[in-house]
Each structure stands twice: as C-alpha cells, then as structure tokens.
Amino acid sequence: MQCILAPFVLPLMLAGIDPSSEAMVDFNREIRPMLVEHCLACHGPDEKARKADLRLDRLNLSSLQTDGGKLITPGKPEESDLIARLVHTEHGKLMPPPKFAKPLNAKQIDLFKNWIRQGAKTSAHWSFVPPLRPPAPSVKNRAWPCSPIDNFILARLEAEGLKPEPEAKRARLLRRASLDLTGLPPTPAEVTAFEADSSPDAYERVVDRLLASPRYGERMALEWLDMARFADSNGFQIDSSRSMWPWRDWIINAYNRNLPFDQFTIDQIAGDMLPNPTQEQLIATGFQRNHRLNGEGGLIAEEWRIETVIDRVETTSLAWLGLTTGCARCHDHKYDPLSQKEFYQLFALFNNVPESGTLQENRKGGNTDPAIEVMAPETSAKISVAESVVETAKTKVRAEEAKAPNQVEPWAAAEVILLGKSIWKPFEANTAVGDAGTQYSRQEDGTWLAKGPNPNHESTVVKAPVSGSLNAVRLVCLPDDSLPNKSVGRFSNGNFLLTRMEATLVPPGGSQPIKLTFGQALANYSQPGWPIEATIGKDASKGWAVDGPTRREPLEAVFILSAPTQAPAGSMLEIRLVQATLGGHNIGRFRLAVTDAPSFAVKLGEAGPAPEVVLALKTTADKRTAEQKKLLLNRYLASAPGALGQAKKELTMAEQTLKGLKDNLPTAMVMKEGTPRKAHILIRGQYDKKGDEVSAGFPSMLPSPPAGSKADRLTLARWLASPGHPLTSRVWVNRAWERYFGAGICRTTDNMGTQAEFPSHPDLLDWLATEFVDRKWDMKAMTRLIVTSATYRQDSKVTPEKLKQDPQNRLLARGPRFRMPGEILRDQALYMSGLLVNKVGGPSVRPYMPAGVWDETSVYGDLRNYKNDTGEDLYRKSIYTIWKRTAAPPTMLLFDAPNRETCLVRRGRTNTPLQALALLNEVTYVEAARKLGERMIVEGGNDISSRLKHGFHLTLSREPSARELEIMRQGVERDTQRFLRDIPGAEKLIALGEAKAKVGLIPAELAAFTLAANVLLNLDECVTRE
C-alpha cells in the first residue's frame, strides 16, 4: 500500500504545504476540481439534473443565495452556507449527500474555508481562457537550462529539492531521439559519428538531420491516424475495403513538408470550402470521412447518417479541442459548460454533406461518395498521351462515317435477308423460384420481376424444358420503376451482384443431372472490380455488379458453355442465379434465353432490329422516306462493317487504354457542402426524435469567432486555428510533450475540460502554447525545441530515491523511459535486420498474418482469405499495413493499438505475456532475428564475441558489458552444439520467412545466432525507448 500511495504523499511533503495552515488557495487548482468531482453532477450545467436551482460551475459563486442565506460570504466562512452544508449533521442537509458516495474529507473542507477566508476569488477554467505567456522562472543552477523549457522544469525541481540527471550518454541519447523522431534506431555508423563529433552543436545537428528524414512524417503520423480513426475498411458488419490511403499519404507528407498546424487544421476540416481548393486540400478533408460506414441489410439510412455526423463532431472536438462532447448528444454536459443545443449547433456544421448515411461503395476501391479521383503527376502525363491517341482515332472514324451514305444501300440489301433470324430462343418457364423466398411475377414482356421482402442472399431458380443442341444462355436484366432507385437491382441503391451462374441439365427418366460448366461470359457492362467473368469462377467473394445506382440501364450477359451439350427430348434445364456475395444485392427484373448457335455466332446485342428499322429495310430504296433513310444510316453506322468497323475498333482500343489509365486512378473520399439540411436538437440523441431546430454555431464557453463570420465548417476550421484560441495550441503542445515524455503536462491529453487533471507544470504548458503560436504553428520547430531541451536529454536512470519520491516521473528529474508502440517494435526489428524497405506512401500492404484472422468470425465483405504479399511489400513500415477494423492486425492490437473504429487520443501501455509470445515467436520477428543473426555472422568478424558485439551495436546502439557478452557467448556456443546435433531443427528454424538465407552459411551456426538475435530483440532495453 505504501509504495502505491507514496507518489501522492510526496508532493505534500516536498511542497511543505499543510492545507490547515493559511497557504494561498488557488481556485483553479484546488477548489474547482472539488466542485467538479463532488458537486456539479447536481449543481452543474445540466439544467435537467440541477437541484435546488443552484449552479456552481460559474464564476458568480459569491453572489448566490441558498435557502440558508448566502452561499458564500467572502472572508467569512462561518457566514457561508456552503461551509454549513459541508459539515451539517442533519441527514438530508449534509452535502454532498451520503448516497452520492463522494464525501469530502476534513482537509478538503478546510481548503474551502481557507479559500473563503482569503476572499473566495474565482477564475475561469484554466484551459478555456487564452494562455498568457509567463516569464521563464529564474533558477539557481543557471548552467543547466538549454531553453526556457528547462527553467520551468528546474525551478520546480529546485523547489522540491531534486536535482536533474546528467545528460544521457551520447549513444542512448541518439537512440532516443532517432526512435522518437523517425521511429527507427540509429545505425552503428550514426552512433560512431555522433560520439566522435565534438562540436558544441553536434546534437542539434543530429536533430536537424532526423527532422529532415522522410521517416519523420511516418513517425509523427502514427498518433494522428489513431485520432482520425483511419483504416482500410468500412467497419460494421460487412467491413469491406475502402481506399483512403491517399489521405494517409497526405498526412505523412504534411508532416514532412512541415505544413504549419493552422493550415494542417484548416485543410483537414474544411479544405473543400477554400477558394479553388487544390487536389491536396480536398484529399486532406478525408479526415472527416474516415468514420465507419454501415452497409448492413435492413438498416435505416438516416439513423446512420446522424451517427456519422455525430462522429465528426466528437472526433473533431477530441482531436483539436481535447474535449469530450459526446454526453451533450443526449443532455447538457454534466461538467463542461456545453449545452445539448450547442452540441447540435456544432452538428449543424457537419450536417450538409451530400451523403445517404450508408455504405454505397459507388466509387473505386470501395469508396462512397463524395469522392475524388486522385491524380499523381506521372499519371497525368500518360493520360494526356492517351487522350491525343483517342482524338486521332476519332478523326479517322469521322472520315469513314462521311463515306457512309454511299454504303447504306448495298448493306441494307444484305441485311434484309437476315431479318427475323435471331439465334436466341426464349427460355419459357412457368415459374421462377427464390430459395430464400423472393416472389417473382411474370411480366408481359417475358421478364420476371422480384417482389416482397428482399432477402440477404438469394438463389433464383428457373426451370424449363429444352431439347437438342445447347450452347449458350443469355441473361437480360432490366430497370423497373418498382425497384430501388428505379434501377435494376434490389439493394437499397439499385445495384445487384450476381455471384455465380449455374446450369444443370436434368435428362428425362430420372437419369443423373448433369452440371454444365461455362467457358466464357460476356456482358455489355461490368462495374469496375466486379467483372462478369467472376460469375463462372469459383470465388464466392467475387461476382458481377453493374453500377446500379448510377447507370439504371438494361444489361445483357451471355454465358457460353465450355462445350455444346446435347439435351435429349424431355430434358429440363435448371438455371440458378446465385446472389450471395453482398447482402441484399439481388437481381430485380430479368429474362433468360438459350441458343444452339455455335460459339463464334454468339454475340452480345439484342437480336433483331426495332420494328421501324425492319419496316425501313423492307421498303425498297426508292420508296423510303427521308426519315427512314436517316434511320438506316444510323443503323449502318452502329453496326459498322468494313473500314468504318476497323476505325471504330481502333477508337475503342484507344479509349480502353485511356479508360484503363483513368480506372486505375485511386479515389479518396472527401468532404463537400451540399444543400443545407435542417438541424434539430435530437431528444435523448435519437435520430428520429427531433426537438427544436437549431442553426450552426459555436460553444459559448470559448471565445467566439470574429463577428460577422458565417457559421460554417470553414469558419470552424479558422476559429480552431486562430492564434487566440485557448485550446488548440495547448492541446497540441500537451500531446507533443506526451510523445516525448510519456505523459502530458496535463496528463489527460484526451480531456482538457473541467474534468482534466490539473497540469503538473501549468506555466510551462502556457509558455509552450504561446511559443507555438508565436512560431507560426511550426511543428518541426516546436519538436526541435522540446527534444533539444536539457530536460529531454537527461539520463533515464532511476535511482531508488527518485523512484520513491516521484515514481511516475511527473517532475522530470530524470529522462523518461517507456515501451514503444507495436508499429515501432516491428519496424525497428526489420530495420536492424536489414529487411525494412524504405518507400514512402502508396496503397496499404499485407505483411505476415496468421491464417484465419480475417475469416474466423466473418464470411462477409471482400476482406477475407488473407494472403500475405511477397517481396518488398512484406517489409514496409507498419504504418502501411492494411487495417481491417473488425479484425485489426493482431500484433498491433496486442501492443495496445485501438481498432480504429472511433477516435482515440491516448493508447494504453500494457505489459502482457501475449506481447512476449508475439515478440518471441511471430514469423516477422523470427525472420528478422535470422537476418540479424546473419548480419552478425557476415559483418561481425570471425569470432563469436565480435559478432555478438556487432549485434549489440545494431540493436542497442552500444557495446555489451563483459558479463553480458559472456552470457550471450555461452548461449551461442551451447545452441551451436545443440543444432549441430539437430541439423534438421536448425534448417527448419532458418527456413522460416520468405527472405532467403545467404548462401554458404552453416545452418547450426546461423540458427544459434538467430536465437541470439531473438534474445536481443526481446530485451527490455530493446523494446523500450530510454
């Protein structure tokens, strides 16, 4: 118990403060937290919960009246009802009420008394007023500070009687700075160079080198990705893939080019509303589209649109303001002065995006509108070339078309002979049956129209007699007014997805049915990524979709059998349309036909011309009207025989090339302002319980935007990024501090509201916040300022005295050490072993993952059957690993990564046996250990000791002690002996992973060094940045 309580007892002793004596009481530091914790639940901003009409969250405490008189009489605790009620003996009068179970102790009551005796001064919550720049305090040890930061830290240490630790040894300092700024340790050469550099600014120059590395942006982006809930999947039940990596690359790039934080803010919140936004600024707004999207069958779109908008409010508030607004969704905030109405005023700012609220996947890569195509400069050049080729081909076609009027007559003469000779026979069935219960009714044109409830998955079965030769089946799907979006499919957006086309021939007389196979499938249109060919393949996660939401046009598909089949008279053909890939994506209206025509004659195109064309053809040339002549000319042009056909073919090819280029352009979801929607207070936060209408606006607890500005998203962005904003700069510097010191100056980096922990160094926080604004929101400059401070450079040695006095190191009398995030652990292992691939950006990659992680709990969506990439993509930085929200990368989750379903500001930092198992046994780490062992052997000289020393330098950036070396050396010798007795075992171990072992190494030796490297990579010192 004692060691646990020690940290909290400590400052009391050190500060020499006894609350019963008359030390000056600070309202914000001492009184407000008690009011928040013990009083505001019933006497706070929430009007509905407020008791006795008494509100204690404002500054007018001295003017409040209670039924017992004045709440507070400044200077006179004995005449203040507040004190009377805190010590009341009568049940029902004592505050806080005993059943509230948050009693105040005697010391706390004394604090209240002293505060009143001293005049009961109040001041606004510290984080809600703009920071004033405090002067850097003077210190006794003037030689220590490198920057004003150190004055703040040292002044407090000196007051507490503590001394800072000396600067860490160069190697340790370099390892710390390299990991903090680039996510990778230094190379042995970098360590040597730094140790040899005796110039006074050697360290500052190292920091500048690290800040200039492209790895810097990748490291900085890690926390931002958690906050932005970035992922490669849509979340929810289906959790199919989406393409938001252009946004992720924008973030990395923004850090690398040191985009000032105000612009970083404006671009991500409202880049689309800037005048003439660049493509980059549009991509940036993807921050507001990284939320999940629900595509579950049967959902109510508006419910989920509301959730999306609320998610934006909550995420934006947490990320920039460090405020939790979620509770005000249902009622006035209990602690922060944010009313429910104000919550919906913020809501109104994000409410105008043209979106349905559900997953549409109507843009490439599984994205949902609004989205843009993202053009890289080199693609742009290729597209211009392809466009000019198309233009040339078009000219040629036009030249051929000019010759056409003379060609019509001979063509028509030939065409008239072919009239009425369709190759297709209608497939006349009496019923069409849905296995999952869909009702099909026959229409006059021979089509089947689906009615009734739309099941999640359906298999539509149509049976009809056939006889003679059978070679192909034709499926025609038509739009219908009764279908969603008046399109072709039954999904809420009008799309369908045909998973598989099946045909079974049932010969007469009870013979065994014959399953027919198709060799070729053609369609007049396939949605990108969902080709018709998939319907005759085996993969049930693939299929034919048709862009139902946008096209709404008749579709035709033909399926040619692998070989013609002879059906004996009396046979039945059973055609089965399997629609089982995505929920509810069923065909709405269709008809079938079959043919015996040979494969070469089977073509797309409705058989037979329209009646008016037939009439024109049958009319002799001299009797045709002008209209009929025009009709035939058009028909001729459309059928395009001869040279015209050739020219058109070339045009088609040129267009396809162009289309291919354009189709390969990635898309990214972006923000867009559509028609403004009305916003309402939602009663109890429910989407269908509308209260009063509200207009867009900003919370009154914070300074307002400039008078006359329009209440919209752009103003919100500019307001957040304005120099005088009390929270934005404090929140940012506090989180930067957390990254480098393990805890924020205000520890609750996810909550800077009235429930925030009071900062350990409030003046330092304000100084940094003003410095950030003064430096024009320059993130690299602030980072440099922090990591070049003497505070940062301290050694992280933990002496028993300091551990006892300040176990959590809040006062920073020593350098902080803490376990690194899972991403960095993986990246450094790859880097030390020489496997890491230095490539910034691009689509997400698939490194090793145990089989079944995606599939054990889902058979939905396209993110299944995980297969790891091969080659370079196995060894990219972890920030590029594909992230499926409902089954996120397990080695990241084990190390406290969130699943990215919602905004997360602060990861936990646990220490578990499952982490140990991952670092010991996961293939990535074992393969990295082998390659690291190989480096020790190949680069480390000829004896075991020199090789092991090399291993220490590669992993820990230092020389081993004699004792360490001896332990490791004995291990290598023993393991080598053991593997020499078990060569197959050694060979198995060194065969793990796809990277090839260097030729010529002795298996037993490599296996032994693999285990040595395995030990090094698992050392506490290796997984800790210290």
Binding site: I4, L5, F8, P11, L12, A15, P19, R29, E30, P33, L111, F236, Q237, N294, G298, L299, I300, A436, G437, G452, P453, P455, N456, A580, G584, D688, F758, S760, K797, P800, L803, P850, A851, G852, T857, S858, V859, Y860, T886, A888, N899, T902, G908, N911, T912, P913, L914, L917, L920, N921, E922, V926, E964, M968, F979, D982, P984, A986, V1015, D1020
Partner: protein, 479 residues
Amino acid sequence: MHPINQQAAVNRLNRRIFLGNGLAGSLGTMAASRLRAEEAGAPWLIPGIPKAKRVIYLFQSGAPSQMDLFDPKPKMEKHRGEDLPESIRKGQRLTTMTSGQSKFPVAPSVFKFNKHGDSGLWLSDAWRYLPRVADELCMIRTMHTEAINHDPAITFMQTGNQLPGRPSIGAWVTYGLGSPNKDLPGYVVLTSFGSGRPDDQPLYDRLWSAGFLPGKHQGVKFRNKGDAVLYLTDPPGVDRSTRRATLDRLAALNGLHHQSLGDPEIETRVNQYEMAFRMQASVPDLLNMRNETKETLEMYGADVTRPGSYAANCLLARRLAERDVRFIQLFHMGWDHHGNLPAALRGQCKDTDQATAALLTDLKRRGLLEDTLVVWGGEFGRTIYSQGGLSEANYGRDHHPRCFSMVLAGAGVKKGLTFGETDDYCYNIVKNPVHVNQLNATILHLLGINHERLTFPHQGLEARLTGVEPAPVVKELLA
C-alpha cells in the same frame, strides 16, 4: 502537485494500480484476490461472498427466435396469415428489409411446446436435450433492447453501448475482480460457425475488447486453426529446453539492465515472459482432451471431436471453468433467420442443444455449477410476422428489439423460474421487462459487483458498463 485536489485521481489510480496492474491476470487465489481488492478499497465489491465466481456466457449471435424456442404463443394459430394489428405494432420501427412489405402476416410457430421438469418450464420441440435440464434453467422472456440491427445490437449487449469503443462485459469483470489463474488469460473467447445459416453473422474484435480499460483485460480469442493463442508455439526447430535457455539469457540480461537502471518495469517484463512460458504449457494442457472419458465425450455429442464446433467449445468452457478462468464466452453464429426459419433453426439446435445440456450436466456433477453462472441468448428477438412468404411449413422472421428470451443457469439464479410475460403476438412486454443493462447489472451482482460502482475514468467521466440511466438488478431472478 497539490495532494488534496488529486484525491479523486489517487483513488482511481489506487484502483487501477491494484486491479489494473496488480491483480488481473496475475497471482493469487480467488480468496487472495478478493482480499487484496478489498484492501485496495475497490468500491464496487459487495461485502460478503459472491454467489458466482465465474461466468460461462453462451452467446447465440444473429438472434434466436423466441417464439419458436421458449415463448409459446398458441393463440397465433387462429390468426395465421392475418396482418399484424396496428394495436400491437404501435408504430415500432422496422428494418428496411421488411418496411417495404405491404403485409405482415402472422406466422405461428411450426414447433410444438411442452412443459418440462418439476418446474413445468415451457420448451419447444426444437429442443431434444435441453428439456432434461429444464429444472436448472431460469427463463427470462422479457428481455428488450434499443438496437434493431445486428452490429449495434450485439455491441450493446456486450458493452452497454451501440457504438464501439467501450469495454466488453468480460473485460469489466476481469478488471473488477482480477483473475485467479496465473497461467491463463482471465477472459477467454471461443467462436463457432452455425450450420443453420453458415454465412451469418460476422463477429468483431470489439465484442471482446477492453475498450478504454487496460489492454490486459481484452478477451483472448482462442483460435480454431493454428495456434489456439496467437504465437503460442515456438518457432520450428526450437524445443522447450532451447526456449528455456533463451529465456534464461533474456532474464539474466534484463536483470543486469535492471541493476544498472533501476526501473521496476523491467522486472515486470521479466515476469510476463515467465508467464508466457507457462502459458505455452498450460494452454496445450487445457486443449488436450485425451483425459476426457468416452462417456463425457459422448454426452457432448459427435461434434465434440471437431475443433471449433460449438460442442467442442462447450467442453473447453468446462475445462476453462475448472481452471478458474473468470469469464468464458462462446459465440455461436448463424441464428439470423430471415427466411427458411424452421430448417435453419433445426440446424442451430442440432449444433447447440445437446452440448448446452451436456455442459450444464457436466458442470453440475463436478460441483462447478454452484459457483458458475451460465448465460444463453442473443442480441434481440424476432418478429411474429413472416418476412417474405408464409406457408404451412415455412416462413422467416425479421429483427425484433421489443422482446426476446434469455436463459440463465447456475450460481445464484432461481432454478425453474420463468420470468416476465409477453403479449399474445410475442411483440410487446406485458409484465416485468428486463433491459439489457439490467441483465448485465444482474450478472455483475451475482459476481459480487455493484454495477453502479464499477467505473473507470474515461475522457473526464466515470464510465460504467450499465450506462447512465438506472438499471436495477433483477432481484426476482436471484435464488
């Protein structure tokens, strides 16, 4: 840092240090853990010895149909095919799977109901084995929830919130009580696909996530293929003694580093590696069914030999309970029967009936049922009206949040009780509603936890499993 204003933080941190880091997943027997938790002043512990020491939660994902399994509605036969009256529906929102339907024809169950056991508990003839343990069961017919789609509804059952980011019930329980077994995780999750509807419904990591609680409280999902626990097996070519030797080296080097640096976190890490090493033995031992008698295996049914089946998971649940794992949760998928319900439901019952009954019998004869709470149920109910066509022998049912049935058994619950009453259409609750949060409050109560006090500071609030509205424990369910 002034001490006084930090008092609340002190209390929280004490709780966190003791329960978050000290107890859970680490040392000590149940008694010791109670003792230490009480010493630490964990304010949520109800004084006295709790009825339940552990939970086996048999989650039936997809929403089993209550009127075909548990809640007989004989009067529906004479309303067959009639439209659901508006007086019953009362404006209940519908999913968009059926909101376009012009008619809502009442579909009486094809299953026949009988009373079973001394208590006369009603069960349908979809069950063959469950009736044999009818007197162990405590039936709640009046569960209700707020969500109407699977993802939010199952998230709500597990975390008390439809939106992600909250800790699951198993994480709350191990956070609140710690875990007595030092060699196994405190919260274990087992999943199985159903044969009634093999393509439904997906599960998500978040369902057993620790949310904002310390990550160690996250449920550990045992996998059905490969390593049961991720990365449990040493790399090929590395035998136990070799692994032991590498860990000794690791410990020796870490020890040296600790000597020079002094950070106690280093010792903690060494302990975690040792626990990992022990898990490498304890998990295979747990999974090794060779010592189970033929009679036991037969009792669970033929599926028990197929890894990853519900039956195999039930047997594994018993073995986990024997090893004092705190919270054991099975998820069986496949209960979402929008169409072809009778056939699909039979498939699901075939998967679960025998094994569920066997688990209860097995726990009982080993004396484990006395201190193990068993929970059986899904995320919502289904509609009395048919989704899609209705025929004599076939129908489907849509989602229904207003009432559904759940079954409890074991530690501290009233045996043979049927609680609550729904209307003739099994559409509305007539008597004794039980909200999801109340069920969770009751589960925590049986474990000796006051659900209103089991809180964790999150983003400035004292968050808890059962939400901000009152959710009284359902005392009538308690023995």
